[in-house]
Symmetry: D2
Subunit: 151 residues, 4 copies
């Protein structure tokens, strides 16, 4: 790996984030592709993610999208935290299904970023669309919201 | 319990939904108050919900809000499914913290509903605000999106 | 025009909507392309749309996106009303600029639709992204929300 | 007016913003109450704001909410710009109706703020709910998005 290879640095940044993220690991999320600003990840719908009709609880569809978004917005090396997100549920996902989340970097200007995530099933059908907003952390502002550090 | 007691019917509707919802149970969500259109529920942040800095992964904050919203919008007896939602992350939540989600019914007209959820820590500090949108299911429309049934 | 030509019917549906829409006309919105499910429209930023720094007020960027969304979701011939929307402001737009709004049909299932709108300046720079949600009107439900009729 | 009177300073900040805002003036928006972090404003629905059925075009309901939000988030004296917003349309508003927008400051931490706006008709019926997100401007970051300055 060349130190100035953006793709290798993006993979390293996402790997470090994932290795330090028990939640994404416990959800069974797997990162399958990383380029700067764009990540693809998968999650298989388990019975304990079901809302009782054999369908995936919306919170877990969201969690897959949110993790993939976090990986994508941190793939450029600058630490970003999620500020908020919206999701539209378009179709149900069944237990056993392998969900695939792919990101698109809509905007990254100054200290703000906007990313879209599409969650599909294995057949490519879109289950949900997600739009996440992130902000860059600054060390120097003691009042600033930090998700990743101690107070 | 009188059969025409709306509060008792709301509690029954939410209990039935919860009993049939492995995801909410596996998340450790507990419903602590139900009145028609309004539910309060809690969830303790476990280590496997952490993003690696001892802070709750946003997806699990969302999942608590989403479950509480689903209970609230179904507490009036008519089956509703979530159509979408947005969340704003306002402060981090630490592992071990007991999160409390409370709902407000913003609108319920015809086949559509809008509900707000606030997620606080035990000290009452707001961790996140969530706004959910739901739609009533119709049996007669075969093309309609169903989260809760087989195809 | 063949009566079964979907493109011609889409243009007719949008023309009828536009002709009956004083707001879009007063805003100077022009529809420049219509295919079923997809519309492109423009609006020039006037001084009375400015927030005082020579920049377009966000409400007018939103109004262009909202009109274009309404045209797109009604281009398939079934009457739809906007249920809600979100917008992310990515860059300012100057007075005198010609804004261009283009739509993408994300989902249209049963009685619900989701559409994305990108608003760009003439150089193609993205000014804002918008996501709109619409619902089909039903004549038979007297409680249903109607934007287009008397009570 | 005492220079350290927060209410007087809030009114001054909003007055300065309004006086320099041709769009809000052209829309007929009137600011009727200001306290720090909270603003109430009105707008009468004119025929040229109608979508052709005698109902207010959603873009103008949004514009009233967006202006009122901008006044509220700037009422504390620090310049903030809107980063994005969402709106849910709950009921139609008729031409001639006087709409009233009231704000609630949900969160203001560091460089970010979240504000809710409710738009009602004169009878107090809620027409729409709006949630806006703002960010503080920094002079020192040349890449940062500025809505209010020249390039």
């Amino acid at each position: 790996m060349k130190v100035d290879d953006p793709a290798a640095r993006a993979r390293e940044a996402v790997r470090a984030l994932y290795d330090d993220d028990p939640a994404s690991q416990a959800l069974g999320i797997e990162v399958i592709e990383v380029v700067p600003g764009r990540v693809t990840a998968t999650m298989r719908v388990r019975p304990d993610m079901s809302n009782g009709h054999g369908m995936c609880h919306g919170g877990f569809v969201f969690a897959l999208a949110d993790s993939t978004f976090a990986f994508a917005c941190n793939s450029r090396g600058e630490p970003m935290v999620a500020a908020g997100a919206s999701i539209e549920y378009l179709a149900p996902a069944r237990v056993g299904e392998l969900l695939v989340a792919t990101t698109t970097e809509i905007s990254r200007v100054g200290r703000q970023g906007v990313y879209d995530v599409a969650v599909t099933d294995q057949a490519g059908k879109v289950i949900a669309v997600f739009r996440g907003r992130c902000a860059r952390l600054r060390a120097q502002d003691p009042n600033e919201f930090k998700t990743g550090g101690s107070p």
